[in-house]
Assembly symmetry: C2
């Protein structure tokens, strides 16, 4: 297989990148300076060589424990549980959360053979268990059926440990017109209404 076909194939394995986009990327790299392609290849290799999931929280980092788990400024009495590391990144970028994270690595999905043992749940229970400083666990699993089921399961496991268990508020996204919000979101927003 030619170098061009090989790279097209590798690019099109990435999420959201089909054959046409892959080809466009390949042509872009060929058209540009070789430096750009070499820098990209080098940056990918650096990540592959140096970044690992943190053994405590599962977030990706060049350090272990990661920058979040070892940072003395973070308040690790509150843990935010997410399915994937990029969701922790999204919460981190809001700049409003100073607690710790715990990355599950997915959600429960019995049909795909993903049960509690396939997720980083044991580690979470250890972090919250006896002698721990954790006071609150915020469940930020995805809002679909599987995410909800995962949250319900986690709550059943966490509650006996005497920790406060919360989940992210459901409601109207900021800037949305009411008429475009779907019914279940609107129902959740009504049920979760707050004093002004």
């Amino acid at each position: 297989m030619s170098a061009i076909d090989q790279l097209t194939q590798e690019f099109s394995r990435l999420p959201g990148i089909g054959t046409k986009t892959a080809l466009r990327l390949v042509y872009h790299l060929m058209k540009g300076s070789n430096d750009e392609a070499r820098r990209l290849a080098g940056a990918i290799r650096e990540v592959a060589d140096r970044v690992r999931p943190c053994t405590i929280c599962g977030y990706f980092s060049e350090l272990d424990p990661c920058d979040l788990c070892s940072n003395p400024v973070r308040d690790l009495s509150t843990l935010c549980v997410v399915e994937e590391a990029y969701e922790a990144g999204a919460i981190e970028r809001t700049g409003t959360f100073r607690g710790g994270f715990h990355v599950l690595g997915g959600h429960l999905s019995p049909l795909d053979g993903i049960g509690p043992d396939e997720l980083r749940i044991d580690g979470l229970l250890r972090r919250v268990g006896p002698g721990s400083a954790v006071e609150e666990v915020i469940l930020a699993t995805s809002s679909g059926v599987e995410g909800e089921a995962t949250a319900v399961y986690l709550e059943s496991q966490l509650r006996p440990l005497g920790v406060r268990v919360t989940r992210l508020a459901r409601g109207i996204p900021v800037g949305s017109d009411l008429e475009y919000v779907d019914g279940s979101t609107l129902a959740e927003a009504l049920a979760g209404r707050r004093e002004m």
Copy 2:
């Protein structure tokens, strides 16, 4: 800068990839096996090291002259002129063109300082000039204003060399409903109507 930030930045320099998509790609590579990331890095490096524009036609290839220019089965009496190499790739994938290509490397755009000298036009005129076997040049520049201007300029340079100069047909895309086709395309399709 961390390895993750570095790679996010490199990815977001690629066309059509913003910061969010770049982040998603980075997380995908971190989540997957290291092998996948290494294979991608290796494939990019291979392309950077081995692929060059052909000195005759400007198409990208690991050989010089490229597979298209040196292939005895191709009929090089017909040349198809395109702006970018990926457009030659698109025509090639139709499987209906067996002639040669000539990649200009862009279109005339005086406002951006791109005149005839910035494009691979000299090389085209040399390929078509005295003693050449070229009988027809198909202009397949883009259909916008600059592409048209480039085609008109090329025609003025090629015609005196005694070669047949054609351009791709304009008309209704296959499978389109007439009511959704824009007015100028419809006008071109009418003007270019053919006997059944």
